[in-house]
């Protein structure tokens, strides 16, 4: 009898210790989870030809960084790109160009090529290469881009400019406008993150 009582007491102590330890592990884990996000990322593009310069901007890009894994994801709604001219915006969304009724978003999911290149826990400006899959207009392509990751008071922000060949994504555009739209489009990304809880 006495012996089994002691046993019960021991197991209660054990349970308490176990729970405390698990709690500590959980807290430690959440402190290190380092998930960052934004719903107001700015993505813009610029096309330059002899005939015309075209610019459009979107301020509702979603982006998530998993700092522990060095993973980056971006998603942007095609219809959300604003052009200075309404007719340009209509053409851009039309069936001959982005066909945004059928393909409403563009996406990039990738990883740091060298995970050690960025120390998310130390303030500073890091230049890093990210490689992954870019999907738009229904086509997915591998790509690499170099960007600047700035950590300020522990909070990351991302800035990157890179070129995308529209023909790689099957965006052919009608011949009478082809001269006005560059094949290599400059894409600029600017995101400020907040911690995900």
């Amino acid at each position: 009898m006495h012996c089994s009582k002691l046993h019960v007491q021991n197991s209660v102590v054990f349970m308490k210790r176990f729970l405390l330890a698990s709690l500590a592990v959980l807290l430690l884990h959440s402190a290190h989870a380092q998930i960052w996000f934004t719903k107001t990322g700015a993505i813009s593009f610029f096309s330059h030809t002899e005939m015309e310069d075209i610019e459009a901007a979107n301020n509702e890009a979603v982006s998530i960084i998993d700092a522990a894994k060095g993973e980056f994801s971006f998603q942007v709604l095609i219809k959300g790109f604003k052009f200075p001219k309404t007719t340009m915006q209509e053409h851009f969304n039309g069936a001959n160009y982005m066909n945004s009724d059928k393909f409403p978003k563009a996406e990039f999911k990738g990883k740091l090529v060298k995970p050690a290149a960025v120390n998310f826990k130390k303030d500073g400006v890091y230049t890093a290469e990210v490689e992954g899959d870019m999907t738009m207009h229904g086509i997915t392509k591998k790509m690499k881009a170099t960007g600047k990751i700035t950590i300020t008071k522990g909070v990351p922000s991302v800035q990157a400019t890179f070129k995308v060949n529209r023909t790689d994504f099957g965006i052919k555009v009608p011949s009478f406008t082809a001269a006005k739209i560059a094949e290599a489009i400059d894409i600029t990304v600017q995101c400020k993150y907040e911690p995900y809880k």
């Binding site: 998930i35 107001t40 700015a42 509702e60 998530i64 998603q75 219809k79 007719t87 409403p104």
Partner: protein, 140 residues
């Protein structure tokens, strides 16, 4: 003879002017303004539910349409361009209606509002989901 030629010339000039006029109209077509459109009235919860259930069918109903959405504000913020935004509550804890406003309004978390804006689609990024409305006005 002379008058026939004159008629031809006049006809061509009229066509040219019409063409130029149309091109001018296209070039200067004013941007869409949600304030000028009636807008489909819907609650934040119902709009989100439809998008979460079937993105394609919801897109066919709401994408690029003007919507008037009613819901409770759960978050307010400002984007990098200084534009004001609010998120409306839905029946899913990680789902909202995300609205970028045309101009700053005195909006607070917890109040229920009606916002009219243009629907730009559904964002799904594993951690959270939302329907995006831009150029929103506060409906009095």
């Amino acid at each position: 003879m002379k008058s026939k030629a004159a008629k031809w010339i006049l006809g061509i000039v009229v066509l040219l002017l019409a063409g130029m006029g149309y091109a001018w109209y296209l070039w200067n077509k004013p941007a869409r303004d949600a304030a000028d459109e009636k807008g489909i009235a819907i609650t934040a919860a119902a709009l989100f539910e439809q998008y979460a259930a079937n993105q394609q069918s919801a897109d066919s109903l709401y994408l690029d349409k003007t919507l008037q959405v009613q819901g409770e504000i759960v978050k307010t913020g400002t984007n990098q361009q200084g534009q004001f935004n609010v998120e409306l509550k839905t029946n899913q804890s990680n789902g909202t209606i995300f609205c970028t406003l045309k101009k700053q309004e005195a909006l607070h978390v917890g109040s229920t509002v009606s916002l009219k804006g243009i629907c730009k689609g559904y964002r799904d990024q594993m951690l959270f989901f939302d329907v995006v409305l831009v150029d929103c006005y506060l409906v009095p």
